[in-house]
Subunit: 386 residues, 2 copies
């Protein structure tokens, strides 16, 4: 029997530059070159009318989908009947699904946490849903993503240390159950992707002692990858970087590291320098829909009146489908008029910007000039609007 | 001095098949093969996140934009500064602008109609706007469309015959002022498109005697094209076809005929048989956004539960970007989830369907089998959902 969740051959570090790693993860759905930014397609679609076909032209390597949302609608059983997420979305590159944990703790209504799992009400129709490690693994197996995430608790960053301690211990016990359940699911005849990978998640709020102890414990499970969760939820950037400085060295050096839900271009540049491989964030899509465009000279607010007759593309020299074809003035007009096309053009530009930033990061690490690159691009982005 | 609005060389009829014409209109922005369906991009964008670049792939020949909407936002002066609509939208094929009349009479707030024009309140911010023949021509000249429409009054189809008589007489006087104003605008040095064409509009409700008399009057002005307005606003299909049967023979046989705001595939098939060249309608975009897809077997309502796990494309054998890449099940899921991508995929399919229907119509006329083609396609569409 194959067991995709043992062994480390699939991940290889091509080179290092300071703390930054240029690596490669070979999966059954294709190779992922890291550091990589995953594009968030919550309900099996990028918000802003961007399709899987568009993503191929935007340099996207991995699409991230949300387990909780897909369980609620259209239902993971429906996705399974359709042959899994790849076939459902017509996306033939890797997909990472989150565990549903974050949404359960942030979106769902009244919930009760017990050892076996969480009971809560759907945010769509209020119906009672029970989700624990086994349910999350079953749903993700039905979705047939490339990488599944462990089901964890995401306590609020303001929680007491005593609560965090108790919560992290439960998350560790849940991780063992996730691993066992996935092993069983991957061995079933009717499983769409029997090579589905499981990544564990480190928690512990901003308490470095809890974080590092937890990192050591989950590392012993020898999973194909590890994520750092519960960050970018209200703590300062410095606190986040401090957690990375403590946690990354405690995770296996021969496994990919994923910093969940992060973040700004500056966050990514700093986290890459601390050894992180994978990122995801709704900023490029959400900010795009609200008129904020990322450029190497910082963010532009396209709703600003000064762009009313600005014939330049959002970013001069940018090779994205938006900048190749449309002016700031036109995009601004669409946004002001509430036209969906405005959202689409903004989101395509922003995803291209993030994906292209990662390509530049990979290139700089390969050339051994990551430190200079980081300094240069951070200074450029500080310049502000042009 | 050039005068695009005289002479008939630009329009040529390639062949006839019964009452149907296969014709060609050569414009400064490219050649239009008729019969043609113009795709409606109200505020210089197709609703549903479909861009000018997408339209090139959907077989669109002419984009229609709305003068009233663009005058209100972003303002026709802004569009003029940006080099006209073609440059603003990045669309390099012909554009037809309506006169603003229809929106003034259907969308705007309290209005007063006088001989010089109409005074009304903007539907966006309530500010007072005055629009008459000269203002409409000035705005359309600023927009620099390929074809400008005359400013007419669109009385409700329920209006008394005495009111329609008075209104049509005013519309005739307004048409003369439109022609004179456009002549003057086209001769100005700073006019972006000095070859802008003016189409006159026939009105008269469902009163054939008023309609035919009006058609004869406006034909005398020898404009480059004529439209039939004030239909598809509540009268029956039979009443509409009856008006066409009376009016088209009264319009110049060597000029294109445009049936405004029409319509369903069946309406178009019938009107082509009565000699109409140009069509426009919001059905493919509006119905698409609401989950209704056009196919050669009639309309599908993608929100129907029976499509939940339907792996087929919206229309089997369809070569549109949606059907080439996505299943009914996926499109349905996107629509149910309120994802913009669902609207985009639906609108692209529907525009493709309409554009492709027109290509089939042109082909059938060329082959001299239009009558058989019409019978066959109408029967097929009657079959209903498959």
């Amino acid at each position: 029997m194959r067991d995709a969740n043992s062994g480390t051959d699939m991940y290889s570090i091509l080179c290092r530059d300071g703390g930054a790693k240029r690596a490669r993860l070979v999966t059954v759905h294709g190779t992922i070159e890291t550091p990589v930014f995953m594009n968030v397609g919550t309900v099996a679609a990028i918000k802003g009318a961007v399709s899987s076909v568009d993503l191929e032209g935007l340099g996207t390597q991995v699409e991230l989908c949300n387990t909780y949302h897909l369980h609620v609608r259209p239902g993971d059983e429906v996705v399974k009947k359709m042959g899994g997420l790849q076939k459902f979305m017509n996306w033939h590159r890797p997909i990472l699904t989150d565990s549903g944990g974050f949404q359960v703790f942030s979106l769902a209504g009244l919930r009760r946490i017990k050892e076996e799992g969480v009971t809560f009400n759907s945010h769509i129709d209020g119906r009672v849903i029970r989700m624990g490690p086994e349910e999350s693994m079953q749903i993700q197996s039905n979705l047939a993503s490339t990488i599944a995430m462990a089901f964890d608790e995401c306590p609020p960053s303001t929680a007491e240390k005593s609560y965090i301690t108790e919560s992290v211990a439960r998350t560790t016990r849940w991780l063992v159950r996730c691993r066992d359940k996935m092993r069983e699911l991957n061995s079933r005849e009717d499983t769409i992707n029997p090579d589905q990978l499981l990544f564990g998640i480190n928690q512990g709020g901003i308490y470095n002692d809890i974080r590092t102890e937890h990192a050591r414990q989950i590392s012993e499970l020898d999973l194909p990858g590890y994520a750092i969760g519960g960050l970018a939820v209200g703590e300062t950037h410095e606190q986040m970087y401090d957690v990375l400085d403590h946690v990354v060295p405690e995770l296996p050096s021969d496994k990919p590291v994923y910093l969940m839900g992060v973040g700004t271009p500056a966050n990514i540049l700093e986290a890459v320098d601390r050894g992180v491989d994978f990122f995801d964030c709704v900023y490029p899509t959400r900010n795009g829909r609200h008129g904020h465009a990322y450029t190497r000279f910082g963010k532009l607010n396209l709703l600003n009146a000064k762009y009313e007759t600005d014939e330049r593309p959002i970013e001069e020299g940018c090779d994205c489908p938006t900048c190749r074809n449309h002016s700031r003035a036109y995009v601004r007009h669409l946004l002001k008029s509430g036209e969906m096309l405005g959202c689409r053009l903004m989101v395509m530009h922003n995803l291209w910007f993030y994906n292209n930033l990662m390509a530049q990061i990979r290139d700089a690490i390969e050339k051994g000039c990551y430190s200079d690159f980081k300094k240069h691009i951070l200074e450029s982005m500080e310049q502000g609007e042009n």
